[in-house]
Symmetry: C2
Subunit: 240 residues, 2 copies
């Protein structure tokens, strides 16, 4: 049995962003990332600050803990990170376990690594990171991931780009041009992921900014612009 490094599990809550925005879901967050984005809202998954909390868990243990947390009060499990695509066999086993119970698996990853279990994911969000992150995209890897997924035509896939500034917006456009047939989501960035208290005003201003860019841009007629609902409501609190 391959174990999975889990840093937190919580829910049920509401998925706040992306293709399945608004859906009730459990969250499983894996530890470890090949990226270290400057504005990461979950840096504790890779910066070492919470390393003591990581548990190496078998898929069946994760499943048992989800059921203990939520009983039958959920239908979807979102696996996020860190980068869950760093995990091989164990994740495939976990997804099979979810399916055996009629549960859906939603996964978000930056598109820097391929895993065969991507084919089994119900809702797969590939979220390449724009220049403001400080990371650079390996286009060869991203192309091959997108090609693999399109070839099977089985997974509900989408692309999502977080946008902080004009350079990020141009990067987002280059992604949308490169993979024009893949459902495409834009999301304004949260410029301070540690600020306490109500940050909804600041976040809504950035959403309006992004709305206004897309509204006048005919290359973005098929894009979808969505906020992070959880951040509008629960702000920068963790575990919501």
């Amino acid at each position: 049995m391959s174990k999975i490094p889990v840093i937190e599990m919580f829910g049920p809550t509401i998925q706040g962003e992306g293709a399945v925005i608004g859906v009730k879901t459990m969250f499983v967050r894996t530890y470890g990332c090949d990226y270290h984005c400057s504005w990461c809202d979950s840096a504790f998954t890779w910066d070492g600050s919470a390393k003591a909390k990581v548990r190496m868990m078998e898929p069946a243990e994760i499943m048992a803990e989800l059921l203990e947390l939520a009983g039958d009060n959920f239908n979807c499990v979102t696996i996020s990170g860190g980068n869950p695509a760093l995990i091989g066999e164990g994740m495939g086993e976990f997804i099979s376990m979810l399916h055996a119970r009629g549960l859906q698996a939603a996964i978000e990853t930056q598109g820097s690594r391929w895993q065969e279990w991507f084919y089994e994911v119900d809702v797969l969000t590939i979220s390449p990171k724009p220049p403001s992150s400080g990371m650079s995209t390996n286009w060869e890897v991203l192309d091959s991931i997108m090609n693999n997924l399109s070839a099977r035509n089985k997974v509900t896939q989408s692309l999502k780009v977080v946008v902080f500034d004009d350079m990020d917006y141009e990067y987002a456009k280059s992604i949308h041009r490169r993979y024009p047939l893949i459902p495409f989501f834009l999301q304004p960035g949260n410029e301070d992921v540690t600020e306490e208290g109500d940050i909804s005003g600041r976040l809504l201003e950035r959403l309006e900014w992004l709305f206004n860019k897309v509204i006048v841009d005919k290359e973005m007629n098929l894009a979808r612009v969505l906020p992070q609902l959880h951040a509008l409501i629960w702000h920068n609190k963790r575990g919501k």
Copy 2:
């Protein structure tokens, strides 16, 4: 040629709610409604206050005006009301015209009237009105609409219920139970559609209230809870 009573046209803007939340769209609002919901956010479409602004337009005239407003800077036209399902042949012609240009038609209606052109709509939102509206649902009509749509299995349909209070929530559950296979959206109501200034705080409180109801309710595992993004950003302003 059948004419369509149009009370306003605007865009491009971003669709703020429902199944295609976040998509760039033009809006065409038709005049006239068989309902008069107590909290209607577009009462000017039926209460007579803006009757002087209604234009009887041929489908080709509407098309021309949309192109004049937005050029090729949109891919979707949302037809709302009032109740656009009060309009027969003319609407079918208009939808064909959109398709001939590769444009999508999204329509919202309360499910009180059937039209043959429902089969041609790309994104059809049926939004039955809960008790707080003061309206009562004709279940026979609603059943027959949902049956017609399911039989053809061609239209991307969804159900959306606006929820103001606990009674509305129970009504929403009864809808979801009755049509369990249809994608189901919940949306918190805007309790004052005339208040000026920033109402986002009040709206987000109601979104949190609805999130929390759904989170603990295992009958709502497949529901999606979404706000009205346009109201969060542009508040009660019209034409946005």
